[in-house]
Amino acid sequence: MSRENILHKVRTALGRSAGQPPSPPPPVRLRVPIVDTERRIATMTMRIEALAGKTWRVATARDACALASQFIEGKAAVASNAPYLAECGIVNLPGVRTGIRNVEELRTLCAAADVGITSADYALSDTGTLVMIASPAEARLVSLLPTMHLAIVPKERILTSLDELFTLLPRPADQTSSMVLITGPSRTADIEQILVRGVHGPGQIGVIIVG
């Protein structure tokens, strides 16, 4: 509606002309420290638990599957289409619905599910964060609608921090319509500053670190 008008006002105010290139931007500031895997895992675990999340460390994909099966026993679960979950065998566990490509079906299932199981494209140890990139393998709703989110993450995917993530992915939007960083369970403190978990997203979060 007012595109030309607004851009014209901006240019006039700044003394710029149409198509004029920008002045040189400040250099990008990303610092990636060298931290060994074990320390990353230790920090990751500490951070997630500080946010009332649960963490487990298992040696193999099989172990992860066994742990997950105990966890979801008697519950309704939806698993994402992540190849790593298939590799673990989680998609074959009883009570787990997976392989869904229809959005309506996914929505109905996730809304009714107790547990949403995903992998994660990356994790950030410094903040206890899961990085979820929407793709045919990972739908957005699996980590959002169920009351609990269980993520199974191979240890190689644990980065140190935001800086390392943005060094690897300088422009995440090139590859996905949605990248979400998840740091702990959904929470609010809107009434009297009292912390309540699970207001809209999952109130519980569990991370199984494999390897």
């Binding site: 509606m1 007012s2 595109r3 008008n5 607004i6 851009l7 006002k9 901006v10 700044l14 710029r16 149409a18 004029q20 290139p21 920008p22 002045s23 400040p26 990008v28 500031r29 610092r31 951070r47 490509r101 959005v103 929505r107 809304a111 903040t127 929407a134 793709s135 739908a139 957005r140 709703l141 959002l144 935001l162 800086d163 300088p170 422009r171 995440p172 939007a173 090139d174 996905t176 319509s177 949605s178 990248m179 979400v180 960083l181 740091t183 702990g184 959904s186 929470r187 609010t188 403190a189 809107d190 009434i191 500053q193 009292i194 309540v196 699970g198 207001v199 809209h200 997203g201 999952p202």
Partner: protein
């Protein structure tokens, strides 16, 4: 000071419960911020602030370039960008789209920009249901109130207030346990999310190099708003654009720490365009509404344009000794606290509430805690100067208006006019038939003196035209 401003301040100061609520909540947020940016926890805090300031300064100085780059990239990812100059245009765009999609229910996540333009009221006026989904905003929408605080909108409400509001507006039993109140809201809003036709969000950052909208939140309501409905509209001020996705790292490290003392907020979403081929869920249509609504008025002044760097963390509110006494609703517009005191006069004009830039002790705390280093006290001083200049100009205007009124009255009353003429002739220096070169004593007042200092007048005739006419 306007009567309204004065009254609101006094009623807030007189309410002991409210005073306690404001003081406790802001005090807690303030302490958490201090812990989260302490040198042992975040050694490069000051460097990050400097970087954030440099990035914002750069983005604003090249705003037109980055807006166009952002737009190109949104379009490349299948989204659409709409520029709106004011509240009416924002509402018209949303209403038009709602009509096109035959939409009735809209879910909204927190956005100060939509508060600015009263979007909910405008949509509801046209028969649409527009539901706020952030818990605090939802409570306020049910109570028909405006946010009290940028980050903690319902800071002034107790659990008992919430119990009453829910009972009255949602027809649920009176429930005072906060966990259960939250569960009630979750259940009601969950249905809204799943039924909604359109989701409207705000944006914390617009990333030019990726065409991405970055949304930061804790509850998950923004994720639901931007994922569940078929249409997502992000509404953002034009000043939110930053050059590169990599720059978001700097801001993310500062924003949550400054706002609530968290290392990161629970959800940071980078959204660009609608669902892509192969992706399973997400909206089918993606719009970004870029709003001016007064922002371009701030750009010409190199000193004051830094007000546009604000990332809405609320740290300046929590630390401000004035906000902590007079609260959020005393402020005349949606933005409260020190940032409100510098934004409001620039968006609405300094005469909107001339006392606002003076409602500060200039202690400097706001400038010290600002994660993007806005020199709020300096801008407050500049605005005080603007207020005084405007007042002086108006005072002068008043005198001038009075003089013209008297002139008009004399000119429309023939007898008075005639009398004034005789009076002027009688006081004018007479005798030599020459020009009047000095100011007659009774008229020796500054404006007349100034006018006559450069002019000579012919002597008044012995008889006026009227006298001659009568004696003809």
């Amino acid at each position: 000071m306007s009567v309204e401003f004065d009254q609101k301040i006094h009623s807030t100061l007189a309410d002991a419960n409210l005073q306690l609520a404001i003081y406790t909540a802001t005090g807690r947020l303030k302490e958490k911020r201090i812990e989260a940016v302490a040198p042992d926890v975040l050694p490069d805090y000051q460097e990050l602030r400097t970087q954030a300031n440099a990035l914002k300064k750069h983005a604003i100085e090249n705003l037109d370039y980055y807006l166009e780059e952002f737009e190109r990239n949104v379009v490349a990812h299948g989204g659409k960008v709409v520029y709106c100059k004011d509240a009416t245009e924002v509402a018209d765009f949303v209403l038009g789209l709602a009509k096109e999609k035959d939409a009735r229910l809209i879910v909204k996540s927190k956005s100060m920009t939509t508060e600015e333009v009263d979007l909910n009221e405008r949509l509801e006026h046209h028969g649409l249901e527009s539901v706020e989904t952030d818990l605090g905003e939802y409570i306020l929408q049910l109570a028909h109130e405006k946010p009290y605080h940028i980050v903690a909108p319902a800071l002034h409400k107790t659990r008992y207030d919430v119990a009453e509001i829910f009972e009255k507006r949602l027809n649920v039993p009176n429930e005072v346990v906060i966990e259960k109140q939250t569960a009630i809201a979750r259940a009601v809003l969950r249905e809204k999310f799943l039924e909604a036709d359109i989701g409207i969000s705000g944006a914390n950052f617009l990333v030019a190099d990726s065409g991405a909208v970055v949304i930061i939140e804790n509850e998950g309501n923004a994720r639901l708003t931007t994922t569940a409905p078929k249409v997502h509209i992000a509404v953002a001020g034009i000043e939110k654009v930053i050059p590169r996705a990599q720059d978001v790292a700097t801001f993310l490290k500062l924003l949550a720490r400054s706002a609530t003392g968290q290392l990161l907020s629970v959800y940071s979403s980078f959204l660009s365009g609608p669902r892509r081929p192969g992706e399973i869920d997400g909206p089918e249509e993606f719009y970004v509404v870029l709003v001016d609504n007064g922002r371009t008025k701030l750009l010409p002044d190199k000193g004051k344009r830094q007000s546009l760097y604000c990332i809405r963390c609320g740290a300046c509110l929590n630390t401000c000794p004035v906000y902590r006494k007079i609260g959020g609703h005393s402020f005349p517009w949606v933005y409260s606290g020190p940032i409100g005191a510098i934004i409001t006069p620039q968006f609405m004009g300094v005469t909107h509430e001339p006392a606002l830039p003076f409602a500060s002790s200039l202690c400097g705390a706001c400038g010290e805690v600002c994660p993007v280093k806005i020199d709020i006290p300096k801008v407050l001083l500049d605005l005080r100067s603007d207020v005084k200049k405007t007042e002086a100009r108006e005072k002068q205007n008043r005198l001038e208006r009075l003089a013209y009124k008297v002139f008009a009255w004399v000119m429309t009353h023939p007898r008075i006019y005639e009398f004034a003429g005789r009076l002027a002739a009688s006081v004018a220096p007479s005798g030599d038939g020459g020009w009047i070169r000095s100011v007659p004593a009774p008229m020796n007042v500054p404006p007349v003196r100034a006018w006559l200092s450069e002019r000579d007048l012919p002597p008044p005739p012995s008889k006026s035209f009227r006298e001659m006419w009568r004696r003809r």
